[in-house]
């Protein structure tokens, strides 16, 4: 299945990558784009459908005003111009996931156009800002979800039939399309990841979407082509779909660069096609070949009237925009006293809001960052979910840190408390109680363990008596082991030295 690849350094030595990103954002509106059906994720199949979103004859769409407002706010935050007059269009195609046989979208009159988003990337020469230019952001509706049944692989090929759920059909989507991103060179994978990460923070800050990549409320398609050099004409591009985590954005681009370079080096032409990213195996495979069949015969949607946002409305929305992410991140960096690189890792981990919420619950900034970027990031990675989907709240993390600060837990015990919280055993204090987790602070209990340790290792004890206090490490270690990590190591050390006359 996997294609021949060439070394990434060799790709960079011989080719110049050009990338383009299409991001689909599901808006967090209560109702759908053109009807009043609920948009709740995970509802029973086909319980959030009506004549409009099922495309039944005689039904008529009406635009969700909040979705238009969200679209304009997204455009403004992306430094776009906002169309003073634009229309919806029908994108005609036959596929069971779209019961109307067309998707209501926008064609040559997007509501937002020509903007940009600046993203910071760590390079060999330090942090560099790349400007990703936005071509357009337009309004459309999501499609239904198909479940392919039968066949040997569960993929579309070989499926005997498909089962379709239209709950998602008609949920408002904003599609944000970049212009070709040139000049990123070997940083192309990082620029793409930083862009999607920054866009996600921006959308989260606007409060227009829950931007959960693993639930599909933020989806990314990656266009990539290679050319011999920066002044050569653009090469043939592939469009990789199903890139549903920040990490995958980077990996998928790196993979496509290596795959395309291997073909080109071999003298084989790149086929313009849709490819699918496989998170588990880290490869892309060929999907649909782009052909004349992609003739969508767009025409203006006759059932909807034009959208013509007034200048006053636009200015009112502009005035209410939240602090731009770049400024917010600069302000927080200064408040927390951390480097750009450290801030970048908070943002790339999708942890900024979680860290802020944890601070708001009373933890200090350093501790908040430590938990979310350390232990919790590791758990999220193990489970293959985003940080925010972990079964632990900012309040619980702040409470946990409170238990550490009060001296009840050390970091090791705190990790066991995290186990309990994630397993649904309750609040941190309750988990510590029920699991009997508590630093042994009773000196007499510790002294007993210390005496046993001295008896077991008379050589180390003698060295300490002779003034070689470094030898205390061995005794502290065995006391920690004997108390199953429930002792405060610093206190044990003090007591060991005291006991041996130091």
């Amino acid at each position: 299945m996997s294609a021949p690849l060439i070394d990434f350094d060799e790709v960079i030595a011989n080719f110049d990558p050009v990338l383009g990103l299409e991001v689909h954002v599901e808006l967090g509106t209560a109702s759908k784009m053109f009807c009043g059906c609920a948009t709740e994720f995970g509802a029973d199949p086909n319980t959030q459908v009506c004549p409009t979103c099922l495309g039944l004859p005689g039904s008529l769409p009406v635009v969700n005003g909040t979705a238009v407002e969200s679209a304009i706010r997204i455009g403004l935050a992306l430094n776009c111009s906002i169309a003073s007059w634009c229309r919806f269009a029908r994108k005609n195609y036959f596929y069971p996931d779209m019961p109307k046989n067309f998707q209501t979208s926008q064609y040559d009159e997007p509501i937002c156009y020509e903007g940009y988003l600046d993203v910071d990337v760590e390079t060999d020469e330090g942090t560099r800002t790349f400007r990703v230019e936005i071509e357009r952001a337009h309004m459309e509706e999501d499609t239904g979800k198909s479940l392919h049944v039968g066949g040997s692989t569960g993929r579309i090929h070989g499926a005997d039939f498909s089962l379709v759920d239209y709950n998602r059909a008609g949920i408002p989507l904003i599609e944000i399309v970049t212009k070709p991103v040139e000049g990123a060179g070997k940083y192309a994978p990082e620029v793409a990841k930083a862009y999607v990460g920054a866009l996600r923070e921006l959308l989260r800050g606007l409060g227009v979407s829950d931007v959960k990549m693993e639930q599909g409320s933020l989806r990314c398609d990656v266009n990539l082509s290679l050319r011999a050099s920066a002044d050569a004409p653009l090469g043939t591009r592939t469009e990789t779909k199903n890139v549903n985590s920040l990490r995958s954005v980077e990996r998928a681009i790196r993979y496509e660069m290596q795959r395309q370079a291997a073909l080109l080096t071999d003298g084989t032409a790149i086929i313009q096609e849709t490819r699918h990213w496989h998170e588990d195996t880290g490869v892309t495979t060929s999907g649909r070949v782009k052909s004349d069949a992609e003739d969508y015969r767009y025409f203006p949607e006759p059932d909807l009237v034009p959208v013509a946002p007034s200048a006053e409305w636009i200015e009112q929305l502009r005035a209410q925009l939240p602090e731009p992410p770049a400024e917010r991140s600069k302000r927080l960096r200064e408040e927390w006293g951390i480097s750009e690189k450290e801030m970048q890792s908070v943002i790339n981990a999708g942890a900024l809001d979680l860290v802020l919420a944890t601070i708001a619950e009373g933890a200090d900034p350093a501790a908040s960052r430590k938990w979310w970027l350390g232990e919790l990031a590791r758990r999220a990675n193990d489970e293959g979910v985003e940080l925010e989907s972990l079964a632990i709240t900012a309040k619980q993390v702040a409470d946990l840190e409170g238990l550490v600060q009060s001296g009840r837990l050390n970091d090791k015990l705190a990790r066991q408390v995290i186990d309990g919280v994630l397993a649904g055993e309750g609040e941190p204090a309750a988990v510590a109680d029920s699991r009997g987790l508590q630093i042994v602070s009773d000196d007499s209990a510790l002294l007993e363990a210390i005496k046993a340790a001295i008896e077991a290792d008379p050589d180390a004890a003698q060295k300490i008596r002779d003034g070689k206090v470094a030898a205390a490490g061995a005794l502290v270690g065995s006391v920690m082991k004997a108390t199953k990590g429930q002792a405060d190591a610093a206190r044990v050390r003090e007591l060991v030295l005291q006991e041996l006359g130091q």
């Binding site: 959030q48 459908v49 009406v62 909040t66 379709v164 203006p300």
Partner: protein
């Protein structure tokens, strides 16, 4: 020159997943040509200062509030489908053409 060729009609039929016979292709190409030619005559009278009509009623910004309204009962929806399974519409296998 005709406004639409027989090949155009065949292409559109394939996009629309409609199977047409040779006879139908020829018939429809002729009929559609008459319609398109008639519609095209509008552009002869439309001057540059007349914007294209978008809608029969000249209104903009018709929005509804973002309020959830009741959806249909699932069983009655699926009762109208040719086939259903597990609360979902059952459709023939997709993408035969791939």
């Amino acid at each position: 020159m005709s406004a639409i060729s027989r090949d155009d009609v065949a292409h559109l039929a394939s996009l629309a997943r409609i199977e047409l016979t040779e006879q139908e292709l020829n018939d429809y190409a002729g009929q559609l040509d008459v319609i398109l030619t008639a519609v095209a005559s509008i552009s002869e009278v439309a001057a540059d200062d007349i914007p294209p009509t978008t809608h029969a009623v000249p209104v903009v910004n018709v929005f509804r509030d973002d309020v959830v309204t009741p959806s249909l009962d699932r069983d009655s929806v699926l009762d109208h489908a040719p086939a259903a399974e597990d609360g979902r519409f059952r459709v023939p296998r997709i993408l035969d053409e791939e």
